[in-house]
């Protein structure tokens, strides 16, 4: 290798690193600023903050408007996540492993919430819920968010089912395992990473959801995203940054959890060992 050749290579390497660093700054800087402001001692949104304090976090947990909406979000997210995961996993299993007619149509319908504009879904759900008297109720939110998050569970579980050779199931059957035992001893452990990542996705999507929540929320029952939106419309104080930081931490936790699971991955002795 010639010297000039090596120089060119070093130059390209430097450029690549520089571009990467710039991109990371571009992506991360806004979040860093939000986190910093959330610890601001000022009474309104300014940057840089004049000093640091935990007053906005204190406000979140003492102001009933903020606290109730945080509680409402948790009340919605957990049942939504579980419901979407159970239904989505069952649907994915059916779609991947059986020969039911109209499989394509069912898949299309399940995936529709990703494709159809959210505003259309929101208006439709609002209309139906008005007849059923579900607007502004916890069960209404759980149902609506389950519909919205289902496609994410179905697609992650379908993807992991496609990685699992159907012959494992056939082998288990010939070895004397009934279909139910085949599911919980063979299929479930193998697709567990996919199921968990579907669950986390569903929870993030639900926690983050605004448009549908705006339509079906009520002044007395609203998740934290709706409260944030209302707050931004009115008096803007660093409490919004504190909520933003909490949402950010939740997403970060999910991302890390996902990465850890991926590492554990299919084919590990993690499960199936008694």
């Amino acid at each position: 290798m010639t010297l000039s050749n090596m120089n060119t290579q070093a130059w390209w390497r430097g450029l690549r690193i520089a571009i990467t660093i710039l991109l990371v700054i571009f992506l991360v800087a806004p979040m860093v600023i939000v986190v910093l402001i959330s610890f601001s001692s000022a009474q309104f949104l300014t940057f840089p903050p004049p000093g640091f304090s935990l007053q906005w976090y204190r406000k979140l947990f003492s102001d009933p408007a903020w606290f109730d909406s945080l509680v409402a979000s948790v009340e919605i997210v957990i049942p939504t996540g579980i419901l979407a995961t159970v239904i989505g996993t069952a649907a994915a299993l059916g779609l991947a492993r059986s020969d039911i007619p109209g499989k394509k149509i069912v898949t299309g319908l399940l995936m529709a919430p990703i494709v159809v504009p959210v505003i259309v879904i929101a208006a439709a759900i609002y209309g139906v819920f008005r007849i059923w008297n579900l607007n502004g109720t916890l069960s209404g939110f759980i149902i609506a968010h389950t519909v919205l998050t289902l496609p994410y569970v179905v697609s992650t579980v379908l993807a992991s089912l496609q990685m699992v050779d159907e012959r494992y199931e056939q082998a288990a059957l010939t070895l004397g395992a009934s279909p139910w035992i085949v599911f919980y001893r063979i299929v479930f452990p193998l697709i567990l990473p996919g199921i968990l990542s579907g669950l986390l996705f569903a929870m993030v999507i639900s926690f983050d959801e605004l448009v549908v929540s705006l339509f079906i929320g009520s002044p007395t029952f609203r998740p934290v995203t709706v409260q944030m939106w209302a707050d931004v419309m009115g008096a803007v104080d660093p409490a919004i940054a504190a909520v933003g930081t909490l949402l950010f931490l939740f997403s970060l936790f999910v991302l890390v959890a996902e990465a850890v699971m991926r590492r554990a991955g299919i084919g590990s002795p993690l499960t199936g060992q008694s």
Partner: protein, 364 residues
Amino acid sequence: MTAAILELRDVRRSYDSVVAVDGVSVELAEGEFLSFLGPSGSGKTTTLQMIAGLVAPTSGEIFLKGQPLNPLPPYRRNIGVVFQNYALFPHMTVAKNIAFPLEMRHVPRDEIEQRVARALALVGLAQHGSRLPSQMSGGQQQRVALARAMVFEPPLLLMDEPLGALDKKLREQMQLEIKQLHRNLGMTIIYVTHDQEEALTMSDRIAVFNNGRIEQIGLPSEIYEHPNTRFVANFIGETNLFPGRVLEVADGYCRIDGGGLELRARNSGTIKKGANVYVAVRPERTLLSGPHTVAEADENSVTGTISETVYLGRSWKYVVKAGGTLVTAVQQIGSRLDTSFAIGDAVSLQWKIEDATAVYDPSA
């Protein structure tokens, strides 16, 4: 023959308009090693899957020890299956994999341990119980799959191209090991393969599949020496096929007009005068000699010129142009009649009429 342990009666399976298995009937004796041999798409694997219960027959019946299998789901059939790519559960250790069928049968824990250890020892993997399948070589995984399918002592073991993914050397070694296990344990085995050599060396009997049917079933030597159809003659080993018309049928032999050559051959069964047939002759059953050799009374003889020579180590392979057809002749090196021939040599080629078989081509 002792009572059949497995019986298939006119079993059929079609997918939409495609017929995969078109009326297979076969009986299997206890302790027998039967191969299903055929090209891919000939219905052998589908037949195996119907016995295992993974595919339901469109019609026909299957009996195991006299009990009808059709109403039983695969997990109630108690038949061992070794899959092509082993299908070892990737999230369980080797020992857990082998213990699985025993756990399904609610065998007590300490007995499971003993039987797993015994099965591992049997396939030469005594020290490997705690490994994961992904940490083992193909040959080792194959042994684990075998141990898992045998550990619950099924009355019947099905093997679907179990050595397909292994290299030639390992394959030959595994063939011997499977054969030994079969002999020592007295297991009844159905072995699916598309490798005719594998079928010939391992089997008690071979069923040759073609187009969803069994074209011929019999001892390996019968299949090899006395094929019943053109397909069987052609699929198993190398064969010379002379097309012709039957002039005369008598005493189990036929006289055939093979486009200028007058040939005599064994009647493979139901061949009648005037029929269009093929005369099948194995290359190693022919004898090459100088052009003026006089044929014996019980021999066919053709003359021609050498058009190709191939050295095979233990033998020479010659391609002889005789009239319009090419005939392959394999001559052992070191036999007393050993003479070498070169391209262009005029030769004559003889074979005993009992070594030639007249066969139909049912697919024509």
